[in-house]
């Protein structure tokens, strides 16, 4: 296999075949917790992607110096450092988003997607491949958050690009009565469960195992 096709595979694997949310069910806490609005969901996805890419690159370049017995604590420190950076960046430049994501920003540190990629991929593979893998899985994660948040916001609030009333687009006119359930915690579970069911059918039709 040529170099190029390996890279392409690294990139696409995380998006469909091993999508962290729809296929592997990893990192579900932020997936359910911040997806009441589309902007928050995508913002969370981008923040997690940034941490994932950075930690994948650093861990991959340090893999020769990390003794295998203490690799997990080492990985966690690297990830925690980048989470702190992202936390400060968000607080400085996107205070509204930082406020909306709340405790889920520092909780990126215990997101199993990131530690999982460090353990399964970046700790063994060369830097370039780890970088591409990070980007691929990050896109897959952001995509999943985006889809769920889109469904929940449209059904639960009848808007897009909320919660800020200035940017919110009302999709159904003033007489629309939104399904409040989807904006609330139970709706997150139910919407994700239904989406998983739909994706099961789609994956089966397309023969993606």
């Amino acid at each position: 296999m040529s170099d190029k096709s390996v890279y392409v595979q690294d990139l696409t694997r995380g998006i469909v075949r091993e999508n962290p949310v729809f296929k592997l069910l990893l990192g579900l806490c932020p997936v359910l917790g911040v997806t009441a609005f589309f902007i928050n969901g995508v913002g969370m996805g981008i923040a997690a992607t940034a941490v994932l890419v950075a930690s994948n690159v650093v861990i991959s370049s340090l893999k020769k110096f990390i003794p295998p017995q203490v690799r997990i604590p080492c990985f966690i420190v690297v990830i925690a450092t980048f989470v702190t950076v992202i936390d400060m960046v968000l607080e400085a430049f996107q205070p509204a988003l930082h406020e909306a994501l709340g405790i889920f920003v520092p909780l990126i540190v215990v997101n199993c997607v990131i530690l999982g990629r460090a353990e399964a991929f970046a700790g063994k593979q060369p830097v370039i491949r780890s970088l591409i893998d990070g980007i691929g899985v990050g896109i897959g994660f952001t995509l999943a958050l985006g889809i769920l948040a889109f469904v929940r916001e449209v059904a639960g609030h009848g808007t897009l690009m909320g919660p800020d009333p200035e940017s919110a687009v009302y999709l159904f006119g003033p007489g629309f009565e939104p399904m409040g359930l989807f904006a609330q915690p139970p709706g997150a579970f139910i919407a994700l469960g239904l989406l998983l069911g739909i994706f099961n059918v789609i994956f089966k039709k397309l023969n993606i195992k």
Partner: protein
């Protein structure tokens, strides 16, 4: 005293960590297949979560805040939790091998349980006093266990049920969790701090 009782009631039922706050979803989905493992995981979480709240609260109040090192919170807390889990594991293996057999496999999983990290961070953010923080840790972990055990009971019965093909596996689990969460929503607004 009244405030402590309120904390207990709120974090077990009203603001349940799993069903209303979405913390600790991974173990909630992952180990709720059998009642036995659910109870084992619950015990391990109650123990580690209480200890973690206690230790991180002390560290935060007496080390991080006086020296203005709050920006190190995330790194410190996760390291404390990881080493605490390791410590508990080693201690259990020496002191009580039978208990270790039961809880052993769950302990490493707990490091990446966001409920533990969440409890430590929330105890700081809500500006709880020491006693309140410890009670908060206990109540949150009991809330977690309650949700986990109920879920395990339902899933054992779901094994027998006829489920549409597309929804088999995790999809039906999530929908069940949604309905359970809906039931807990009945407590919302009953009490606030």
């Amino acid at each position: 005293m009244e405030r402590l009782l309120a904390i207990i009631f709120i974090y077990i039922l009203v603001d349940n960590f799993v069903l209303q706050r979405f913390l600790g979803i991974c173990p909630f989905i992952g180990v709720s297949r059998k009642m036995e493992t659910a109870i084992g995981m619950s015990m391990a979480v109650i123990f580690v979560m209480t200890m973690a709240t206690l230790v991180t609260w002390i560290l935060n109040t007496f080390v991080l805040v006086p020296y203005e090192l709050e920006y190190l919170q995330i790194v410190t807390f996760i390291l404390v939790i990881a080493s605490l889990v390791q410590l508990v594991e080693t201690a259990l293996r020496k002191i009580s091998p039978t208990l270790y057999q039961g809880l052993g496999i769950f302990l490493p999983l707990i490091t990446t349980n966001c409920a533990i990290m969440g409890v430590a961070l929330l105890a700081v953010r809500e500006e709880f006093t020491f006693v309140e923080a410890v009670v908060f840790g206990i109540a949150a972990s009991i809330g977690f266990s309650l949700a986990l055990v109920i879920m395990a009971g339902i899933r054992e019965r779901l094994e027998m049920a006829k489920i549409p093909e597309a929804l088999q596996g995790s999809a039906i689990t999530l929908i069940t969790a949604g309905i359970l969460s809906l039931a807990f929503l009945g407590f919302s607004g009953m009490l606030t701090l």
